[in-house]
């Protein structure tokens, strides 16, 4: 059963094309990671699916209805930006306020306990630390016993222990049949939780596959070396980044690049070859749509 769907959706802001005929579906019980840099279009996609915005063309569906209608959102949970919590209200009051919108909300004590917030219930949200705010924001997504939640960078900025705690909570929700859409450019988060990754860049879906497949799809290696001079024009370099003397090259064929470096008698030192992280894989996929220099700058 499909819980959320975008069908050939385009969204413009004036002249700016934020989403370009995107089709995206989330099945019941899935845990999907939406990966992309800022401005790639992933927040726009989430805003369309959660009823905050309307597509310029194409159709969006949430739980079988138009997400802009309140009744379609009865089983939806979303994390607010933690900077947006009403600062003068206490944690317990914010939970009460959000609960009032749902038919059968989770009892407050149970929710607070599940997210380790029991001790914070009397604290004003404006006085919480960044990590505490983040936990409150994630907890709010689960107040209404949702069938589907959209979590925006749920564990960015948390310490390791708090992060594992939340990951366990998200996994438990999915194990009970819940559906999760996770947006992030924080990769450990997506690798830890999601099996399916949808990569968004330049307003388009660039890849939609398993975490392993997305990584394997590009099989990128990072070749790092120290070099004072400039590098000759070698084939197969998908991205380059210079950090003082240190040069980091992204390539699909590390063996060939190393042979070329030797053949061209490049006077490199401290050669290092590492397998790709998801982030580097992602950079290579988006590279088709952006000049290598832009990537080198962004990296």
């Amino acid at each position: 059963m499909i819980l959320a769907r975008a069908l050939d959706v385009t969204r413009r802001y004036g002249d700016n094309l934020a989403l370009d005929s995107v089709t995206f579906e989330v099945e019941s019980g899935e845990l999907v990671g939406l990966l992309g840099p800022n401005g790639a279009g992933k927040s726009t996609l989430v805003n369309l699916l959660t009823g905050i915005r309307r597509p310029t063309s194409g159709t969006v569906e949430l739980l079988g209805g138009d997400p802009r209608l309140p009744q379609s959102r009865r089983h939806l949970g979303v994390t607010p930006q933690e900077t947006g919590l009403p600062g003068s209200l206490r944690v317990g009051e914010v939970v009460d306020f959000v609960s009032a919108h749902y038919d059968k909300p989770l009892p407050k004590a149970e929710l607070l306990d599940r997210f380790g917030l029991t001790e914070l219930v009397r604290r004003q949200t404006g006085g919480l630390s960044g990590g505490e705010k983040r936990r409150v924001a994630v907890a709010l997504a689960f107040v209404g016993r949702p069938r589907i939640v959209f979590l925006d960078e749920p564990t960015t900025g948390l310490d390791v222990q708090a992060r594992r705690f939340l990951w366990d909570g998200i996994r438990a929700f999915q194990a009970e049949g819940g559906t999760v859409v996770l947006t992030s450019h924080y990769l450990e988060e997506i690798e830890a939780l999601a099996r399916r990754v949808v990569v968004i860049g330049g307003g388009r879906v660039l890849a939609d596959d398993t975490v392993d497949a997305v990584r394997g799809l590009v099989a990128v290696h990072r070749v790092s070396l120290s070099l004072a001079d400039s590098l000759p024009d070698l084939p197969g370099i998908a991205g380059a980044e210079r950090d003082g003397d240190r040069l980091h090259l992204l390539t699909a064929d590390a063996d060939r690049l190393v042979r070329d470096l030797v053949a061209y008698e490049v006077p490199f030192k401290d050669l290092e070859v590492r397998p790709t992280s998801l982030e580097e894989a992602f950079l290579t996929i988006t590279e088709d749509r952006a000049p290598a220099t832009a990537i080198a700058r962004a990296a």
């Binding site: 805003n47 959660t50 009823g51 905050i52 915005r53 309307r54 309140p70 009744q71 959102r73 009865r74 939806l76 979303v78 607010p80 930006q81 900077t83 947006g84 919590l85 009403p86 003068s88 209200l89 009051e93 306020f97 959000v98 009032a100 919108h101 749902y102 004003q124 209404g144």
Partner: protein, 246 residues
């Protein structure tokens, strides 16, 4: 839906109450003006004191609504909490109704000191029938100022909204004849005041508290203001929604 509107009103009031200086500010100026101008100068004369109190209440109704809704709405629009609330399973109406309700509540709270000062420190006096008529009139004259506030709040960023609310409220008060008693303002003010929202509102208040005659030209102008300001408020709301949420 109604209970959700009350929930929104309750939490908005709670947020205001947590920063008591905001509450204090809206209650302070009308009360201070009563003590500084009304009590010493016309406090001994029942008729003048009653009219002056009615003017002061009109002034207070204007300033609380203009700031509550003008500055309050533009502040809320700047918060990321606003788009989050649009993902909750409720339309825009409970929020909107809650805002009006909390605005009216705060307005009445800020009027209490004015009424108490008038009752105990001046000769101002009303029959209970007049008091009820005046209370009803206060709700009616709040409408154009709520709409004016919403029009400002939905059409401007926060900093501009503060400035515009401040720029509007003093000239409106002076030209509407709120600084002077009925028939005592300078000529030009007497000529235009009946047709300004402040002047029209004050005339309704004077008619409610004393034997000031209802002026139908002025009432028609006030209705015209309500329609015009309502139109601008709806336009600004739709434009804002279209820009950020469509």
């Amino acid at each position: 839906m109604t209970s959700l509107a009350l929930t929104h009103a309750k939490f908005q009031l709670l947020e205001t109450a947590r920063i008591p200086i905001a509450l204090f500010g809206s209650a302070f100026f009308p009360a201070a003006a009563m003590l500084a101008f009304v009590v010493p100068f016309v406090g001994d004369n029942a008729e003048y004191a009653t009219f002056a109190t009615a003017s002061m209440i009109t002034f207070s109704v204007m300033s609380t609504n203009l700031f509550q809704h003008g500055v309050g709405v533009s502040e809320d629009r700047a918060q990321p909490w606003d788009p989050y609330m649009r993902t909750l399973p409720a339309g825009a109406l409970p929020r909107f109704a809650g805002r009006i309700l909390s605005g009216l509540t705060l307005m009445f709270v800020s009027l209490i000191p004015v009424v108490l000062i008038a009752a105990f420190l001046t000769e101002a006096t009303l029959t209970s029938a007049q008091f009820l008529l005046t209370a009803a009139t206060v709700v009616v004259i709040a409408i154009p100022f709520i709409l004016m506030g919403l029009a400002i709040g939905y059409s401007m960023p926060q900093k501009a909204a503060v400035v515009v609310a401040q720029l509007l409220f003093f000239p409106l008060a002076f030209l509407g004849g709120l600084m002077t008693g009925p028939g005592m303002a300078p000529g030009i003010v007497e000529d235009i005041a009946p047709y300004l929202p402040t002047g029209g509102a004050a005339r309704l208040m004077w008619a409610a508290v004393g034997d000031f005659p209802y002026d139908f030209g002025s009432i028609a102008a006030l209705v015209g203001w309500i329609i015009a300001l309502g139109w601008v408020a709806v336009w600004a709301y739709r434009r804002d929604e279209g820009r950020r949420f469509s």
